[in-house]
């Protein structure tokens, strides 16, 4: 070792910790739609949001405030009018396999059985339209099915459910399959849009427990859109509230409940008064 030089570990202690780049970054996002007569409806405006890998983020807000739009921006199924959405530093242009998606409705392919719904992603990833008729496909299919059955078991579903079609399952079971379908692809981000909204309270509580366990086990970054404040607070590591822009131009801004300025926090408290009491 050269005299006077520092070991790597000593150097690391002396240097300021490197600033971790956000995993997902929404940069000055504005989304607006053209209305008849040339006017534009602003849905989201000036949204700046940073999400780090492994976070469980809940997005709440009133109906029509742009929660789902925010999720679709990260998903890539919608593009912002202004600004950029970056995931791992790359701009999001369309949905891809890095981002799993569980919507409230139409979460499963109705023409496929439970097991085929789960293996679909594995199959299309390895076999295209032409190679899906080769002998190798049929060999691999057995392995895909075994993996699907493992996922099903994790979600608390029975082997006998594997051959059922989605319309033969209850709402809760459908969402369990949808989560298994998304997770089997090992996505970096799991996007859930009001995924539990249509479920009864009992099933909903079970699903909340399940998704929390899945998140802890996989460490996947989760963006969870809900209109249920208690659910948002109970599940997430961070809650984002979409609230009216203080500039009062009718648009919405994202306020981070954990870091908001005291006066803004107070306003959020006014809007979402019973968050804390519900959460406790």
């Amino acid at each position: 070792m050269v005299p006077g030089s520092l070991t790597e570990s000593t150097q690391a202690l002396l240097d300021p910790p490197p600033r971790e780049d956000p995993f997902i970054r929404l940069d000055r996002i504005r989304v607006s739609y053209a209305l008849k007569g040339g006017e534009r409806k602003i849905v989201l405006d000036g949204i700046d949001l940073e999400i780090h890998a492994g976070e469980f983020i809940s997005v709440i807000g009133q109906t029509g405030c742009g929660k789902s739009t925010l999720l679709r921006l990260v998903l890539g199924s919608e593009t912002p009018t202004e600004g950029r959405v970056l995931v791992e530093g790359r701009e999001v242009v369309r949905p891809d396999r890095d981002r799993g998606y569980v919507p409230q409705k139409y979460s499963l392919f109705p023409d496929k059985t439970v097991v085929d719904n789960i293996t679909f992603g594995l199959e299309v990833e390895e076999f295209n339209l032409l190679t899906c008729f080769t002998p190798r496909y049929y060999t691999r299919r057995h392995e895909f099915r075994a993996e699907a059955m493992r996922q099903l078991a994790k979600m608390g579903l029975h082997e006998t459910d594997a051959t059922k079609y989605p319309d033969q399952l209850s709402g809760g079971m459908q969402q369990r399959v949808a989560i298994a379908q998304a997770l089997v692809m090992k996505p970096k981000i799991l996007l859930m849009d009001e995924a539990f909204s249509a479920l009864d309270p009992g099933t909903r509580a079970g699903m909340q427990k399940l998704i929390r366990e899945v998140w802890k086990e996989t460490g996947t970054t989760v963006l969870f859109v809900t209109h249920n404040i208690a659910e948002a607070v109970r599940l997430a590591t961070r809650v984002i509230v979409l609230a009216k822009n203080p500039a009062a131009d009718g648009s919405r801004v994202a306020l981070d409940l954990s870091t908001a300025e005291p006066d803004i926090s107070a306003r959020i408290e006014q809007v979402t008064g019973h968050i804390r009491s519900d959460a406790s």
Binding site: R99, P103, F109, P110, D111, V124, N128, L129, A182, M185
Partner: protein, 285 residues
């Protein structure tokens, strides 16, 4: 019991009786009329009696084209051979061939509709043209078809194409557009390519409805086929009906009409059963 009661629950016997009543009435009225007319004029050919119909069916099934009765040569042949060379069978084969050509040409139409519905540029390029094409009355272009394609098979098949494919294209387009966008996004998030989403997600979901659409268009398809055969053909079921019209051959025309209806009913039934078997998940609206 009120017939105009929305909440009525007809019994099994009532359902069976009522559903066959019109058939029975039609048959009874037909034979009553036939008997009455034959009492007035024993040579009446407009409403043939049962025996005349039976002899017409036998003649159609066992006689070759142009023979009034089974020929002397044919007498030595087996019944099966005579049937195979008989008018009914040869006409059925000729019409069926054209029918299945037309049916096969509907599949490219389905693919075009699918691509129009799923790939925006495809849709923009074709939609306006197909919408215009759909409004053209197929029979009005029949003379053009005969001039352009001659009076052979091609013009008849083209008539079917012009008459039915725009409807199938537009139907498939609408069905494709009706697939929830969540399903397409879901496909992409599971690693599917554009073509995977088109063929392995969307086409699979709309396929039973497309088959239904084709099934419901079987009658227009036959209509255009019959129009072509009646005007320019030397064989086929419609050609025979048009030919016998000149000779007032109602004893053969009526069995032919019923035979065509039966064939169409069987094709329709086969398609319905196939649809049910292949797509157990599908629930008709």
């Amino acid at each position: 019991m009120s017939l105009l009661n929305i909440c009525a629950k007809p019994s099994r016997a009532a359902t069976w009786t009522l559903s066959w009543l019109l058939f029975a009435t039609g048959i009874v009225m037909y034979f009553y009329t036939a008997q009455k007319r034959h009492k007035e004029n024993p040579d009446d050919r407009v409403v043939p009696t049962l025996s005349q119909l039976a002899s017409g069916i036998y003649q159609a099934a066992m006689s070759q084209d142009g023979d009034d009765q089974p020929s002397a040569d044919a007498q030595g042949q087996s019944a099966f051979e005579r049937f195979r060379h008989g008018m009914l069978w040869t006409d059925t084969v000729a019409s069926s061939r054209r029918f299945f050509y037309g049916l096969a040409l509907l599949f490219p139409a389905v693919l075009l509709g699918l691509h129009m519905g799923i790939f925006p540029y495809f849709g923009i390029f074709f939609l306006r043209f197909i919408l215009f094409f759909d409004k053209i009355i197929a029979l009005s272009v029949l003379p053009i078809l005969f001039i352009a394609f001659g009076i052979d098979e091609l013009s008849k098949v083209m008539l079917i194409v012009i008459g039915v494919t725009p409807t199938i294209i537009l139907d498939t387009f609408n069905l494709t557009k009706g697939v929830p966008p969540e399903q397409l996004v879901k496909g992409f998030t599971l690693g599917a390519s554009d073509f995977d989403v088109a063929y392995r997600v969307v086409l699979k979901q709309i396929w039973p409805r497309v088959l239904n659409s084709i099934r419901l268009n079987l009658k227009p398809l036959m209509l255009f086929l019959f129009a072509g055969e009646m005007i320019a053909s030397t064989d086929g079921l419609a050609y025979r009906i048009a030919l016998l019209r000149r000779h007032m051959g109602m004893n053969i025309i009526i069995p032919y009409v019923l035979w065509v209806a039966l064939l169409l009913f069987l094709v329709d039934l086969a398609m319905r059963l196939l649809n049910k078997k292949l797509h157990p998940w599908f629930r008709e609206a």
